[in-house]
Symmetry: D2
Subunit: 252 residues, 4 copies
Amino acid sequence: MDLNADLAEGFGRWHLTEDAALLDFVTSANVACGFHAGDPLTMRSVCALAAAKGVSVGAQVGYRDLAGFGRRYIAYEPAELAADVLYQLAALDGIARTAGTRVRYVKPHGALYHAAAQDPGQAGAVAEAVAAYDTGLAVLTLPGSRLMDAATQKGLRCVPEAFLDRAYTATGGLVPRGQPGAVIHDAAEVTARAVRMAGEGTVVAADGSVVRVAAESFCLHGDTPAAVDVGRRVRAALEEAGITVEPFVTVG
Amino acid sequence: MDLNADLAEGFGRWHLTEDAALLDFVTSANVACGFHAGDPLTMRSVCALAAAKGVSVGAQVGYRDLAGFGRRYIAYEPAELAADVLYQLAALDGIARTAGTRVRYVKPHGALYHAAAQDPGQAGAVAEAVAAYDTGLAVLTLPGSRLMDAATQKGLRCVPEAFLDRAYTATGGLVPRGQPGAVIHDAAEVTARAVRMAGEGTVVAADGSVVRVAAESFCLHGDTPAAVDVGRRVRAALEEAGITVEPFVTVG
Amino acid sequence: MDLNADLAEGFGRWHLTEDAALLDFVTSANVACGFHAGDPLTMRSVCALAAAKGVSVGAQVGYRDLAGFGRRYIAYEPAELAADVLYQLAALDGIARTAGTRVRYVKPHGALYHAAAQDPGQAGAVAEAVAAYDTGLAVLTLPGSRLMDAATQKGLRCVPEAFLDRAYTATGGLVPRGQPGAVIHDAAEVTARAVRMAGEGTVVAADGSVVRVAAESFCLHGDTPAAVDVGRRVRAALEEAGITVEPFVTVG
Amino acid sequence: MDLNADLAEGFGRWHLTEDAALLDFVTSANVACGFHAGDPLTMRSVCALAAAKGVSVGAQVGYRDLAGFGRRYIAYEPAELAADVLYQLAALDGIARTAGTRVRYVKPHGALYHAAAQDPGQAGAVAEAVAAYDTGLAVLTLPGSRLMDAATQKGLRCVPEAFLDRAYTATGGLVPRGQPGAVIHDAAEVTARAVRMAGEGTVVAADGSVVRVAAESFCLHGDTPAAVDVGRRVRAALEEAGITVEPFVTVG
């Protein structure tokens, strides 16, 4: 099983993600590429650390919106979006290469993650950019998303991810934020879900039914020390349960 | 002889350089990379046009300063500057590759051009970034500049450029802007200087003395229709004089 | 009748609107405030010119999106949008005051104009910001828009505008761009429509019916010399027809 | 004695200063205005809190440089700098007014603070902007700085500030950062210096001599919980010593 988290989400003087701590237990680092977060110097140092620790580097591409941290939907034209994604991906990959590694996958951030899951136009733009750059790249995204369709059509590998701290519906979707119980805060429960999802490929949904979750990666959070601690425990629990924790691509 | 000009210097809705017209007569296109000018969509379309016309693509890297168009000196730390240059260079190169070409050289823009000519710290940062990315890249710059020293030390090829519309001093420097006669506006004179510099490697300095100018590229302007017209005439005059006009690197 | 146009829509090195020419015939200048276009130095010089010519200054507020020129919808939270509008409005008003005039009205730009016409959340945010700043300000907008409702509720004066170069439907709406005949390019026809709308308050709709248009201002374009020429002719024709061309508020 | 600190120095998702905590003990809040830090929504909420607590609001104006947090010198033209300062000042003042208070003073941030202390061009630009906006505003700055000269010439009140955690030279200057002992980390010592400076107007310099320090405000830090704690202790110690802690201007 792969563990992914967002890294390099600061900008200049501002820090957000606990980059060094995260690189001790994640296997895939979604590195912000400068449009919604992530400055070039941070990108460079995070790539060097990731290379040293054998962590797979992914391009966490986002809307051009520092003020909104990429969390506000923007009605891009597809050609503009593709160019913005390509620019970010290429910038990070070049930086990664000088740090002794490469970008292995792309994961859209925030509002772009959600738009690319639902809107065929934005999904197609992301897939077009990734495929134009390198058809050997993977796309890390929500199972059943429009991005998964578009990327598959372009011949890209799609890696479905699951959310350990989010409640699932009986049909395998996420319980929307804002509904009671949508987010699971208890570390022990999060850890137990990880072991079950990784071992059996199932999760107990909000209504008590057992749902299949075909994840190849678990999404962890890393913007607080508490989140880092949960992630560390998830990794330890998976390893204790005999599950190999490794990147979904061969690194190095 | 090579003819270089700045291209892609718009940003979104704003246009500045006559990109399509310039690509008809320049042999090297200094493409803005997004920090002082140049949006990803424009970069992509200019690279496609350059590829189609056999024009060599260079990374016109600059300070992060859209409001100042990269013309204001910024006291970057070397590590920050190197990361910013690397980011821009990698972004453009990735875009160029998807357009069927590659970045062949780097030319700093505006205040960075001047700072890298005089300040060893900024010169070293630029050279470090370029060499880290690809030691096969050239650096296009002012003869005798600190950037030339730093790039040479890093094993990079340095390509000296000359300015056809600027008066030279008896020691081969440029007469500072603001002094009378510093800028030559007459198209015929600019054209005649081009033929002489390309053919004999000399220019008549402001004091009437003849100075040696070892340029491998001429810098042309392209932000007005008049400037484009001068560039076109320079190319025609060089070709009439039997001088081969071609990129300073092999393209394609 | 008032004539309004967008001004100050450059940014740093980039110019777009023919500011000096426009100030010779418009009576209301929608000055861009820095988020989608408009740098502080340009804002300051345009305000000084407007003050000298007795032209009313309005805040052309927009989304924070230089790359998209404010033309891409952004899903702002209302509180964020209100704060961004307030910031832009206050910045321009302070600048205007040092130039001897004041901001008299607000007109949202681009995608915000359209969102505030249809989305009660964004309309309410704009109205809240304007009313918080000064309930004596007017709002210039599309008749029948959500912004008109929200601004009226806040006690703000609403000034409806009409578009001289856009075809109208039989119900008084605009024929959507992209449909044949949606945009009227003939200068003589534009001018004739202006005189009819100003004199009789009617327009001939696309289906030939006569529709009432209760405009207190006509929106003109100024981003090309041809557009400037049309505007100049509109003003001359209105004056020849005996219609007083003046700001919709008292200036100076 | 007045106590000032930098507030609102986050941007969107990123937080830096402990705004609510600081407003409990400072008497003057230097609110970042959006160019180097400070988004409009944060500015609005910080102004509301400051108004509620009777804290004086100042405009912490800076270079347009989010990536560099305003800490990199930028070679602005004076007219550009004046316009940028005016824009920031007006934006904050408008926001402050809607929150029930007003901007009472201006304090340049980071590299602009230092440039305005030494460079007459940048000092003059800042003073021009402030005076154009409101000659009733004060300028908070380093004693003996070029900004103090320029502001005085414009008829502005100048408020000299002292640094409690910085060693002084025998001539009343600051020991440069990087030299041993330049920064005082011991909270008790910082507190003792505050009481002495406020009570006697003197400080013991690095060489043991006693130097006169004519400060009307002490600059405190607020970007870490530890810094906040020091500030709180300074205020308590001053009050215990019978020194009135209050803004240097009348608020409300």
